[in-house]
Symmetry: C2
Subunit: 342 residues, 2 copies
């Protein structure tokens, strides 16, 4: 991918139909992003609906346009089947615009499964990888700890976990500015012998890799600064991220009850909404899909305009930093090293 | 096991050497428990050390005695190897006292692995089970949701998960008073097809069982009241419980900073310590080891006197409710049903 020259706006294609509040909030978030970032935006979606929303947001003179699509793929559909049947769905049309070079990055808060499948089919995977993954900081209380995979890749082979670690390390290095990121393998004990079969088989592969591997880490180590990148299977990652969201949502009414007798309402609301954000980081900034040949940023399905705007900001940073090239190079060196050992 | 008659004190044997603050806090907690529960306590440990601690707690006339042991097994030792070498370690002597009928329940906050191994070797497993497990509520925000297994049983066969579900259901029914507890299987989506291979293979076994199976549940469902018992592999359970502890510990300084400008120090401390408890339920009450032929209550290694006292309270309740007999009966019906189907 050619990196856009500094000073050139980043061209974002947004799946305007994706997410629980589309197209109202997606369009609103796009217009907000135009005020905050140096971007040009293409909205992909049902033309009449998207243009009607756009008209509400005073788009006169803004670098934003609409490309029509037909239908959308929901969370409840099987991604691969749906992609075959709905060839003009918003996520497909949007991914093709990215593939054709008419955009620098794709942003969607629609079905994660559909976005991943569409990216794999249209853009293809980076050399040596057999599945893409999702990673990033997921906790405001540990904003510099990257968890990968949170993209529901279950039953991962050990070598795939090493690739996930490599992609997470690139993200930590360039996106978070962490020199030589420490990579840990999530397990039930720090010792090498601790863990399930997957972890035990992965441990030596991580040791042999060129990653800065710090060994097994445990559930509390998201908060102990033992690792910058924590690698797990997407089964565990998905459970952790949803658990954290649920906990944040449960803490809010709990603290409201505790605090509302002691503090004025506006203070209570401020504290609780800040706390909620700390347990819902991905909702406010989105996260890149790692391992596909294109910059794809995924956001939470329940994102509103600020979440869309945040995800567009993440996309801008991702493209400007040239993260895709770094990830490709990193994967190549992982695989070269593996082949040398075989 | 003969259930002690109502009005008869419950005889507790306490591993006085187990945990980070033994024997000072274990002995102190035991004496506290004597004031709160109708119990007789046998302290097992280094005689001189335990008696010295006992003397500090004014034990005159209390139903508490010391049985000597030699050495202890630490968290860093391999449980099985250590048990073979340290045949007179406190946990072994304590388990044998339970086995011989000289106590109704064993309480320990020492190495979980050593306690599990000692229980399996000395007491034996219930019919049809090949590993014991640990379960219980683990979150103050969801005090009636039982998670099982949190005992680090990794790579569990599907049929073992069904047994864990059955044991968790008995606990929910008798200990928490939940009639016909709803059992959910922890996964990455609610649909039957979602999950890793283990979950997908377990799903039909749960459906065929006599459990009140409500299907797959997700990470947020600890807070949504979709299930009373949530079943997972001990790999996931261990990560979740340690993650929650870590989160609670990280929230404390975060909230301290947020609140200390707004509230007097004593209010801040009260709110934070209550919150900490909601993320550290097992530290204050311990939890039973399910599936062994004896009432064994495990507590957190960092328990202080109040945690020991809480775990003793849990032991009393466990014995009085006759939970072991109910669990044995429940496992039998799981296995009878399975054999009928084969």
């Amino acid at each position: 991918m050619q990196q856009p020259a500094a000073g050139t706006p980043i061209r974002i294609v947004l799946d305007a139909m994706g997410g629980d509040y589309a197209p109202r909030e997606t369009v609103k978030g796009a217009v907000e992003a135009l005020g905050q970032h140096d971007v040009e935006i293409t909205l992909v979606g049902d033309q009449a609906a998207v243009e009607a929303e756009l008209a509400r947001n005073d788009p006169e003179g803004l670098p934003i346009k609409v490309v029509p699509s037909t239908g959308k793929i929901g969370d409840d559909e099987h991604p691969i089947h749906a992609l075959r049947q709905k060839r003009d769905a918003s996520i497909v049309v949007a991914t093709k615009l990215l593939k054709s070079g008419q955009a620098d990055a794709l942003v969607t808060v629609g079905s994660t499964g559909a976005a991943m499948a569409s990216a794999v089919m249209v853009l293809g995977l980076m050399e040596g990888l057999d599945r893409p993954c999702i990673g990033g900081p997921f906790l405001g209380l540990a904003p510099r700890t990257v968890l990968v995979d949170i993209g529901s890749n279950v039953d991962c082979r050990p070598s795939l976990l090493v690739s996930f670690g490599a992609l997470g390390a690139v993200f930590a290095k360039y996106f978070l500015g962490i020199e030589n990121p420490r990579v840990g393998l999530l397990s039930v004990g720090a010792e090498e012998a601790k863990g399930n079969r997957q972890v035990q088989e992965s441990f030596p592969l991580f040791q042999q890799s060129h990653l800065n591997f710090v060994g097994n880490v445990e559930g509390m180590d998201f908060f102990t600064d033992r690792a910058d990148v924590i690698v797990c299977d997407g089964f565990v990652g998905n459970i952790l991220i949803k658990f954290t969201e649920g906990l944040g949502s449960a803490l809010a009414p709990y603290l409201h009850k505790q605090l509302s007798q002691l503090l004025p309402p506006q203070d209570v609301i401020k504290i609780i909404s800040e706390l909620w954000q700390t347990t819902n980081l991905p909702r406010t900034m989105g996260g890149p899909l790692f391992g596909v040949n294109g910059a794809v940023i995924l956001g939470h399905g329940s994102s509103k305009a600020d979440g869309i705007c945040g995800a567009i900001g993440t996309a801008v940073q991702y493209v400007r930093l040239g993260l895709m090239d770094s990830m490709r190079a990193e994967l190549e060196s992982v695989h070269r090293q593996r082949e040398l050992k075989v």
